[in-house]
């Protein structure tokens, strides 16, 4: 039972983070490796703000979302748009976007680690103290509950939006062929910015929630999460919201299981082994669509 709570809360943290990553990748084709940096920066901005002014967590969450969205859009405008503009083909742009993201990530992380001297930082300045509830021996904190609700809410909204709305369809078409999408009257830029803002906002929210959940994070915390989120998205199948949810929960469940059942030495091996096996059985991820290709 307690394992279930642990899985749900860990999976939801992965999910909040991975959803943004997946939304930008599965639609406008931007696999943003600076997503982790945005996540850390949003939380770090809140930390700096708390040094000046005491603020309640709700306000902090809003600020983090705004900071994340802003940073993400700035990266889109200054980095990814520029790469796209100059790249010869979509494929050529793909790896450069990856590298551009890696480079861009170093900048805010360098600032944050300089200012924090690489020490852990938290949001205890907000005076927030998570309540702990106990139901028949199972302990849940209020932050865990909020995280799970936010993650599931965001996933449901995103899934519905992409599948059912006109804008969602437009977004998916941009990922396929943005030139022809423009011929359909779709403004690539506006959609790209909106998507990146959404992705960054989620990363910001994840940043605050995770910091509250863990008590402290450091400037480097984004990196580990990035690899895992990337794994979750691939596991579930790029472009599928259901896939991301399943991917995150699968990874979280396997990690929790290994950690609670064994001495923990082989956690990574087990979780990466699972990814490996799933990809062997389904090369396009659990819910991914097979590439459309005919001869």
């Amino acid at each position: 039972m307690q394992e279930l709570v642990a899985t749900a809360s860990l999976g939801s943290v992965y999910l909040l983070f991975a959803l943004g990553l997946s939304a930008a990748w599965g639609t406008i084709g931007i696999l943003n490796f600076a997503h982790g940096a945005i996540f850390v920066s949003a939380s770090y901005a809140c930390y700096e703000l708390l040094a000046i002014q005491q603020l309640p967590v709700q306000v902090l969450a809003v600020i983090a979302v705004a900071v994340g969205a802003l940073l993400s859009v700035v990266m889109q405008v200054l980095v990814f748009d520029q790469i796209r503009k100059r790249a010869k083909s979509e494929r050529a742009a793909e790896t450069r976007i990856l590298i551009g993201g890696i480079g861009a990530a170093m900048i805010p992380v360098a600032i944050a680690s300089h200012r924090t001297k690489n020490l852990a930082f938290g949001l205890q300045g907000s005076g927030f103290q998570a309540s702990v509830w106990e139901f028949g021996g199972v302990r849940i904190t209020s932050i865990q509950v909020v995280t799970v609700l936010c993650a599931l809410g965001a996933a449901t909204t995103l899934g519905w939006y992409l599948k059912r709305t006109r804008a969602g369809l437009a977004l998916r078409s941009l990922g396929v062929d943005d030139q022809v999408a423009a011929l359909m009257g779709i403004d690539r830029r506006r959609y790209a910015w909106a998507t990146m803002a959404f992705a960054g906002g989620l990363a910001g929210l994840a940043g605050v929630l995770l910091t509250l959940n863990l008590g402290a994070i450091s400037a480097e915390s984004g990196d580990a999460l990035l690899v895992k989120a990337f794994a979750c998205v691939v596991l579930g199948g790029v472009g599928s919201t259901t896939g991301v949810v399943v991917g995150c929960m699968t990874l979280a469940a396997s990690e929790t299981w290994v950690l609670t059942q064994t001495s923990g030495m082989w956690v990574e091996a087990v979780s990466f082994g699972i990814i490996f096996v799933v990809l062997l059985l389904r090369p396009q991820g659990i819910f991914g669509r097979q590439e459309v290709r005919r001869v």
Binding site: R166, A182, L183, M184, G185, I186, D187, E291, V292, R294
Partner: protein
């Protein structure tokens, strides 16, 4: 009226279109002919905002659209059916059509898509399958249908009959005629000259990036040698003379 004045387009230091004038009146079909590499597609792409012209102007009823990005050109009522189909391969046929109607009111879009399905029943049968799996000709039908979805005032067709079986060519040509009757201005590049001439009211021949002949289509239909006369030297050069094929 769609007017193209003294249009120039360059790729690097190659001038693909060098001073083209064209105009399309609503309700008529204007046909553009010319050999491979004449700059026909480039002209259409420049009008649609896919490439930026280096100079010249594109206007609708006097309003300037030169150099607008493609999505804004669509908003002004111009649709391009691009060369080589370019359907959204992983998306379903239905979704491809819905995307065509991105700027159209939902009810109107449904009306048009019903007509497209009627015109090409095979699309209706396969409407949930991915567009990329269709045969070449089926994709061409889809691209054509998708172009209609934006309910345009002017439509630019780049070789709409390419890869279509003769019976389907008839359907498409007929549809173009119907569109023109309904008041849409059509600018069409077509290699199937006979089919194109049947419905066109004006013919333009391009070669090496410029217009070498322009005239009403009756004149060409009644006296094909007119075309040859206007093509002049160009008729004698090309791969045929320098590199004997046969």
């Amino acid at each position: 009226m769609l007017e193209i004045n003294d249009l120039h387009v360059s790729y690097g230091h190659v001038e693909a279109v060098a001073g083209v004038d064209l105009s399309v009146r609503p309700g008529t079909v204007s046909l553009v002919l010319g050999p491979n590499g004449a700059g026909k597609s480039t002209t259409l792409n420049a009008v649609a905002g896919m490439v930026r012209p280096t100079s010249g102007s594109v206007r609708i009823d006097g309003a300037d659209l030169t150099g607008l990005p493609a999505h804004r050109v669509v908003a002004r009522g111009i649709a391009l059916v691009p060369e080589g189909r370019r359907v959204f391969a992983p998306l379903s046929i239905e979704e491809n059509l819905r995307l065509g109607g991105h700027t159209t009111k939902a009810s109107r879009a449904r009306e048009i898509s019903d007509r497209v399905y009627e015109m090409f029943p095979v699309l209706h049968d396969r409407r949930r399958s991915a567009a990329g799996l269709l045969s070449g000709g089926e994709q061409q039908m889809l691209a054509f249908g998708r172009g209609l979805m934006s309910d345009p005032a002017y439509v630019l067709l780049d070789e709409p009959s390419m890869g279509l079986a003769p019976a389907m060519v008839d359907v498409v040509i007929e549809k173009v005629a119907v569109m023109a009757e309904a008041g849409i201005g059509v600018l069409m590049v077509e290699q199937n000259t006979e089919a194109g001439l049947e419905i066109a009211s004006e013919v333009t021949v391009m070669s090496r990036g410029s217009v070498v002949f322009r005239g009403p289509s009756e004149r060409v239909r009644s006296d094909p040698s007119v075309l040859r006369a206007f093509l002049g030297d160009a008729a004698l050069s090309g791969p045929d003379s320098s590199a004997p094929v046969a």
